[in-house]
C-alpha cells in the first residue's frame, strides 16, 4: 500500500515537473544554506584550531586592553620591557617570554613596495612560536643589544619584494630607515579569513623602539608554559602579577588580558559565528517560505484533483488513506528538495572551501539532519492540504467540475 502511494506520488510530481521544481526551490535554498554554513564554519574552525595547535597549546598571550570579540578592544596603557622581565623572573613553570611591539609600514626594495606588519622582537619569539629561519640566521645577541638595523622577512614579503632573487644582505627600507636582511622565515601559509601569517618583517625590539615607534611600549608578551605544566595556573599567576604591576585593585577590571589558546580560538572564530548566525536566518526563512510554497501547491493540487479524490472515496478509500496519499506527495516533494539542496551544498562547499583556502570537512550528521528537516517541512506544511482532501464529501467531490 505504501509502495503504491509512493509510486502514485512520484507520478503526480512528474506530471508537473516545472511546477514541482519551482515549489521545492525554497527547500533547496534552505537546506543548501544550512549545509554550506555548517561545512564552511566547521572547516574554518578546524583550520583555526589547527593553526593554534601549531603555535603550541602551551602558548599564553598577554595583551593590552580587553578584547571582546573581533575588533572590539578598549584603550589601556602599554606594557614595557620590565613587565616581560618580571614575568620571566617571577612566574614558575615557563620556558620563554617574548615581548613584542608592532606597526604597519610599507617595506621598499628597489622599485617594489609592500605594505606589511613590522614586529620588534627578540630571539625568544622563535621559541614561543615554534618558528624557524629558512635561509640566513636569527638575530645576533649583539644586534639585539645594540639595536642594529637588521631584519628578517616573512615568506610573503620576500616574494613580493625580491621575486626569485635572494634577499640576503640586501637593504630594505622600512618607513624612514633601512635595514639589512639577515634571514627569511619558514613559510607558515595562509590563515583563516585571508590573514597571511607570512606577511611580516621582524626587527630587533630595540631597533623597533628607537627607529620606528620612538617609545618603549610593548603591546604583546607571548609566554611559553613548560611542557606538562598547567597553563591555567600560569595564566592566573600572570594575571595576579600584572594586576599588581599595573596597580589594579579590588574589583577594578583588568586593563590587559592573558589569553590561552581556548580564548584565542574563540576570538578567531567570532567571525565564523556571525556568519553562521546570518546563514541560519537565511536557512530558516527559506525553509519557511519553501514550506508555504509546498502548502500552496498542495492546496492547488487538492482543488485540481477533487474529482479524483471523490472517485477514490466512492470506491472505498478511507479518510486516512487519502490523507496519507497527499501527505506522502508533499513529503516526497520536500525531501526531493532536500536532496537537491544537499547535492548543491556539497558541491558548492567544496568550491567555496577551495576559494577561501580552508579544508573541506564532510559532515554526514548535518546532511542527515538537513534531509530529515526537509522531510519534516513536507509533513508539517502538507498536513493541512492533505486533511482538506481527506475530509471532502465523496458526492460533492464527484460532482466537482
Amino acid at each position: 500500500m505504501l509502495v503504491n502511494t509512493l509510486l502514485l506520488a512520484l507520478r503526480e510530481i512528474r506530471r508537473n515537473v516545472l511546477r514541482s521544481a519551482l515549489t521545492i526551490l525554497g527547500i533547496v535554498i534552505g537546506v543548501a544554506a544550512v549545509i554550506v554554513m555548517v561545512t564552511i564554519g566547521g572547516g574554518a574552525t578546524a583550520q583555526v584550531t589547527e593553526q593554534i595547535a601549531s603555535m603550541g597549546s602551551n602558548l599564553l598571550m598577554v595583551r593590552v586592553g580587553q578584547h571582546r570579540g573581533p575588533g572590539a578592544s578598549s584603550a589601556a596603557p602599554a606594557f614595557d620591557l620590565a613587565d616581560a622581565q618580571a614575568i620571566a623572573r617571577e612566574i614558575p613553570a615557563i620556558t620563554a617570554v617574548a615581548p613584542s611591539a608592532s606597526q604597519r609600514l610599507v617595506a621598499v626594495y628597489g622599485n617594489q613596495n609592500w605594505s606589511t606588519t613590522v614586529n620588534g622582537i627578540d630571539n625568544e619569539f622563535f621559541k614561543v612560536r615554534n618558528w624557524t629561519v629558512d635561509a640566513g640566521r636569527q638575530f645576533l645577541d649583539s644586534e639585539l643589544r645594540a639595536g642594529k638595523a637588521v631584519c628578517l622577512l616573512g615568506e610573503t614579503v620576500r616574494k613580493e619584494l625580491f621575486g626569485d632573487q635572494s634577499p640576503l644582505d640586501s637593504l630594505v627600507r622600512l618607513g624612514s630607515f633601512s635595514c639589512q636582511v639577515v634571514g627569511v622565515l619558514e613559510a607558515k601559509g595562509q590563515s583563516t579569513f585571508g590573514s597571511d601569517q607570512d606577511d611580516l618583517v621582524l626587527v630587533p625590539l630595540r631597533t623597533f623602539q628607537r627607529r620606528i615607534a620612538g617609545n618603549q611600549d610593548i603591546s604583546l608578551i607571548q609566554v611559553s608554559v613548560a611542557e606538562g605544566r598547567s597553563t591555567d595556573k600560569a595564566k592566573s599567576d600572570i594575571e595576579f602579577l600584572m594586576r599588581e604591576r599595573r596597580r589594579i585593585i579590588g574589583s577594578e577590571n583588568d586593563n590587559f588580558q592573558v589569553m590561552d589558546m581556548k580564548e584565542l580560538t574563540r576570538m578567531l572564530t567570532g567571525t565564523t559565528q556571525i556568519l553562521t548566525a546570518l546563514l541560519s536566518a537565511v536557512a530558516a526563512v527559506s525553509l519557511l517560505v519553501g514550506g508555504i510554497g509546498i502548502m500552496n501547491i498542495m492546496l492547488v493540487s487538492v482543488t485540481e484533483r477533487t474529482r479524483e479524490i471523490g472517485i477514490r472515496l466512492a470506491i472505498g478509500a478511507l479518510e486516512r488513506e487519502v490523507l496519507l496519499q497527499f501527505l506522502v506527495e508533499a513529503v516526497v516533494l520536500s525531501s526531493f528538495g532536500g536532496l537537491v539542496g544537499i547535492l548543491l551544498a556539497v558541491s558548492g562547499s567544496v568550491g567555496l572551501a577551495r576559494l577561501l583556502n580552508i579544508p573541506f570537512i564532510f559532515n554526514p550528521g548535518i546532511v542527515l539532519i538537513a534531509f530529515l528537516f526537509s522531510a519534516a517541512v513536507g509533513v508539517i506544511f502538507g498536513y493541512f492540504p492533505a486533511r482538506k482532501a481527506a475530509r471532502l464529501d465523496p458526492i460533492d467531490a464527484l460532482r466537482h467540475e
Partner: protein, 241 residues
Amino acid sequence: MPAQVEQQQPPPLVELQGVTKIYGSGTAEMQALRGVDLRIAEGEFVAVMGPSGSGKSTCMNILGCLDTPTGGRYLFKGVDVGALSRNQRALLRRHHLGFIFQGFNLLNRTSALENVELPLIYRGVPTRERHRRAAAALAVVGLAGWERHTPGELSGGQQQRVAIARAIVTEPAVLLADEPTGNLDTARSLEIMELLTAFNREQGITVIMVTHEQEMAAFAGRAILFRDGLVAEDQDNGEGR
C-alpha cells in the same frame, strides 16, 4: 400472502424506510426524495425507471452509501447505515458495493488497467493478483488489449465498459448501476445487459440498475418506477427475460 413470505425470509439486503432527501434550503429548497420505502432482497435484479429529475440518481447515491438521507432510515443487511461513521461507510463501499456512475468517473491520464485496479488496491490485493484480476475484468467487458489506454484515448462506450469492469472486479454483493448503457449503442447495450444478468445469475450479485430504456429494463426481474421523488410503481417481471 406476502406477509407470510416475509416472515420466513432473512432481512432484505437493502431497505429504505421513509427516506427523504432535500437539497438546498429556503426558497432554493428542492425535495428530491419524498419518503421512499423500498426493500430489495439478495440476488434480485432490479431496474429503476422514471422521468428525468424524479430522484433515481439521488436514491442510488443513498443506496451506495455515497450520500446520506435527510430523513428516514437506510438498512444494509439489517444495519442502520445512518448510525455508521464515515470510515465504516467507506469500508461498506469498499467490501460490499460496486458503483457504476452516470458519468464514467474514471481517473484521467491513468490507464484502463490501473483504473480497474483501483478498488483492488484499497482492498490490499497483492500486485500480481491485482493485475490478473483487473485484466480479466477488462476481458469480460470486451476490452482485452485496451489495458494501456487512458480514458482520453477511449470512446464513450469503451470508457463506460472500463467503469463497469471497475465495479465488478471486486465481485461486490450489490452492484449499483446508474444508466450503465446510457452511452452505448443497442448492440453494446445488450451485451452489457447479458453481462449484468450473468453476474446476477451465476455469482448471485444483487443488481440495481437505473435505465430509461424499456428494452434494458426487461432484463430485470423487477421494475421500480420513480415519479416526483416517490416510488410510483413496483412490479415483478417474474424471471425477467
